[in-house]
Symmetry: D2
Subunit: 347 residues, 4 copies
């Protein structure tokens, strides 16, 4: 960590600042510039000391050199994390496709869609039972009942399942029915939820807050990891920018950046990332080309009538199947494995 | 609501769209342009229908004319909401000052600061017992113990108290000890928390999410109002922009905008809004000039040693007192009432 | 165009607004809602009338249905624009690679790099002779001399050339020496420059302003097109967001969006779009997968010593060559043609 | 300046980096941390060296401690710059009001408005003769003719004049007719224009680019100052954010921040900063309370019919006069002088 003092700070004050640091058993290196003095700290710095120093008079700037997260960092854990759930391995070179509707609506709906996801080559069934909605009068999901329907559809068709959990009190029931728990963008910094997920025993897909920096995103993952759960996936799902034509701006640079800063698998969500059906196909391919370990894609058999209004970003089943056919060709070119069922090719 | 169809949508498809609308008992008005047809809907539109229409093929755009929130809207409730707590009225022409430390640290600390807030002319004591922190290794607040300390300090010095509640399970205990419950920026869309606050019986100060639009902000307030709690204050606390010199960009236009869209009182937080002590004074004055109904300001007797690291944005007690003296002169010029204790002037 | 009146506008005022519209020979369609009246305009609307209406009292909102640009719009020109320069065709299914240094530094430098671009399979040599710099004390480019050096290097190695023009007075000399003129992000709305380029007779690559919406971007292209120059390429080069880890956020959704709104070719610039060498390779591949018609990539033989400081985002020659080998495999999967020289494969 | 090396950079490489620095006659201070080594540079660092170092292999980060601008910096010039034009002093404690229409439309229009600006207490007449417009089909201003009309109106009513100059070739003619030249937001980094203004002999009001950081803004000012023109005003006019309800987000923190980083006067533009007439009054007052040295405000006698469409953000003359009456009371409270004509009070 580096401390920059204000223009023309007195030598006396500089010595006071140094005394604070040395009292904590740390060494300092002093660089006296023409206007400002720079104090470098050597050793492991407690967050509390960093905060104290930042607040001291005549401290113009405190610059962190080391990262604030540890367990999520590739410095700390150089090898890729590979999350194994049943036969599916996430983060180890396989491209993992999670597909399904925005919301679970009925047993028939989720069963039919599960069959289509499986036939197209997907490995995970997505579907929301609890839905976060901007306004209180919108459809909020069908709740626990939806979890049961999805679990049955997943089991029947040989798919893992992923669903969003919105509040600490529902972690247990979601963990009972789903294979992967998803944290939505609005909850990325719902710290009680993150702590609870740290102890839930199931893999977690953590979506990036729509205005979260990479650093904040990895710190949020750190909450889950620090709770004892090593199986965290990072999901880029679009950030908020000045551009309103797309629902969000899908930040594909996040994929290689997060893979370099962290060892955790990175998943891309082109459905929420764009909010427009016609952009899902090119952005899915771009995500794979950028190195994504997996995709989470909305697909609906009747998007005109989806209950959440997110049908506008859902693929039709034939589009979903055609896209996965294309990914089968694209994946090996960027060093990933992905196969669609041969029977699907024959039909 | 208005529906714009895609370029050269067939007449047949337009009739299908109209049929969907008329089936819900609504009237339509059709405007056929050279390229696009525009369908206007008359009547009260269910969110579900709006969502359905947005997803239909050949619907290029759906434009809301009415607002998605009702109880929070000034259209619906033309008079200002005035929240009365004890002798303090918020939203009725008095300028309300909430001051105190970022976090409650000890009985002595909060007692001393409460005395200073009162002496300077503040009406409400702020202080965090539960602290939302970006990383899991930072100080997280001292918990329920802090609530008790703050309640005692408030009672002793004749101040109301406000504290942040971060999770639904702590709403009851916070409501037991504090006069106003605060929702932090990261929790603006923690919908379970908002629902719980709708039934808590205490006034709520809702902070704007750091990337929330006015519309999303008012929809979040709507969750609390729809739960039966009419006493909601809106708090502008800075938004995230590309500028990193300040911690956030304090959006003062939000004050008159929110006051025009809504009847709820609007509070400004120049401490978090700027993240820099030297900006708190000018931005407080600017907030009052822009019409704020109140301010929430961090003040600390020993900011160099605050436990959260937010000392960097806390005023010293003498700065806080001097600022309130200035506000006494400024407030009447913009039609607000604010008086500092006369004894303070004599000392 | 649609006009929404304020809550409870009087019938008299509505009639006044309608009179203004009908005076211009346009038809109106009126939809009376419970609170607001909506007036639809049919016919071709002059910008001046639109501006007048937007300013009228009791007009709460004016919503454009048609786009403000015409020549740039795919509605107006459904076929792709294909720009032919010598043997190179841009926008017609070939993937076009533009490579070279940030700045032309010497005849030897540009000659060596040109040879490497050609050998790797690039078709266009990029290089700046005039450099836009944030501060006045940074290296500003070597000027006209650099244009001459680049033109010679391009001719010798059989490459087209592209260079940035920063001011109207240099359009002629740049057009004399270069095959394609580039408008930088800071000049996207330098309207005098755009007008001059409309009459310059050479193809133009227009970079998106770093905070320009798609609509503003296409309106800037419209300035050039309206000046009589149909050969405009749109270049996505990263937008400014809250994330500072990358220099900009490369918005790859812009590629399919611009291709759907417009018929003009779309080029991606992963070098400026990320500002980090290690991200250029994945973002180049992602750009191709998203459908880009071409790429503009910085490459330098000695990036440690580039004169502009942009070496940090320049590929080394071997990275550039390896990347183009990969693109040869990737391009056909997304329906594009791209071949590297066979001799390069043998060496 | 501080250089942070990558994780586990070899000692040999560190010595190579140090050698590059010492070759330039600079001293280094080395701090060896557990993972990374930090190299501090003492002495005056050429931009070229900084750029070179940033590009070197194993340099993870280069952190500037000194600012990149000099002449604009308060470190370099501790006293406030006061710009004197005739009797008007800008930056010296007087509040300066610039008012007038978006565009000069006719001699009668500008004469009438000038009379109203003067009567209300304004010191400077604003008006555009050349207008920057997003699309090529919008009204572009009436040109030199407008300059003449405005100069005459200014002279007749005893007002200084300010007008926007959009391109280097018009600097001379604008400087001939106007007292202050304005650079618009889209031209903040039109470096040729800035250089030309550095030699124009007239004071310049430089508007912040709508996505410019404070650092970029002050570097743009540095171009003009470095050209020999010390009379530069900085104008905050709103930045681009995710919020679209307002045309821009007026960043009032910019006022105290720029005044602390620089000695140049700071002007606020609440008209463009909000884009909504009803927000101009509160944001003007907030600007004054935040410490602005002046305001530039749009006022029009017939905003419904303004030629640019900016009438929507123009005050009516009576609103303008009433606002200036209020400022007369507000200014002294924040230590500024401002008087409206006594005759105006009597009428």
């Amino acid at each position: 960590m580096i401390i920059v003092t204000s223009n023309r700070t007195s030598e006396e004050r500089i010595q006071e600042i140094i005394a604070v640091i040395e009292k904590e058993g740390l060494q300092v290196h002093i660089s006296r510039g023409e206007d400002r003095t720079v104090i470098g700290l050597i050793g492991s710095i407690e967050p509390k000391l960093a905060e104290h120093l930042r607040q001291m008079k005549d401290v113009e700037n405190v610059i962190k050199i080391s990262k604030s997260y540890k367990l999520a960092s590739r410095d700390f854990h150089p090898e890729n994390t590979v999350i194994s759930i049943g036969d599916v391995k996430i983060g180890g070179g396989d491209l993992v496709i999670m597909g399904g509707p925005c919301a679970v609506e009925s047993p028939e709906q989720i069963d039919e869609i599960a069959g289509l996801v499986k036939a197209a080559g997907g490995q995970v069934l997505r579907g929301g039972a609890f839905k976060p909605r901007t306004g209180p009068y919108s459809f909020q999901g069908i709740g626990v009942e939806g979890l049961v329907m999805m679990a049955e559809a997943g089991k029947k068709h040989g798919l893992l399942t992923i669903t969003e959990v919105m509040t600490p009190e529902y972690v247990d029931v979601c963990a009972e029915y789903a294979d992967i728990l998803q944290v939505g963008t609005r909850n990325m910094q719902n710290f009680d939820l993150l702590r609870k997920l740290g102890a839930c025993g199931k893999p977690v897909l953590l979506k990036r807050g729509f205005s979260a920096t990479y650093d904040e995103f990895l710190n949020a993952a750190e909450y889950i990891l620090a709770g004892g759960n090593p199986n965290v996936m990072l999901c880029e799902r679009g950030i908020r920018t000045f551009e309103t034509y797309t629902r969000n701006t899908l930040d594909l640079s996040a994929i290689p950046v997060l893979q370099s800063l962290s060892h955790l698998p990175v998943i891309s969500d082109p459905s929420h990332g764009t909010g427009r059906r016609e952009l899902v196909e090119p952005m899915t391919k771009a995500s794979v080309a950028a190195g994504a370990d997996g995709l989470i894609i909305e697909m609906h058999t009747d998007p005109d009538n989806s209950m959440t209004g997110d049908g506008v970003q859902s693929l039709f089943p034939d589009q979903f199947a055609a896209l996965l056919q294309d990914l089968e060709k694209l994946a090996p070119i960027v060093g990933k494995r992905f196969d669609t069922p041969k029977v699907a090719l024959q039909s």
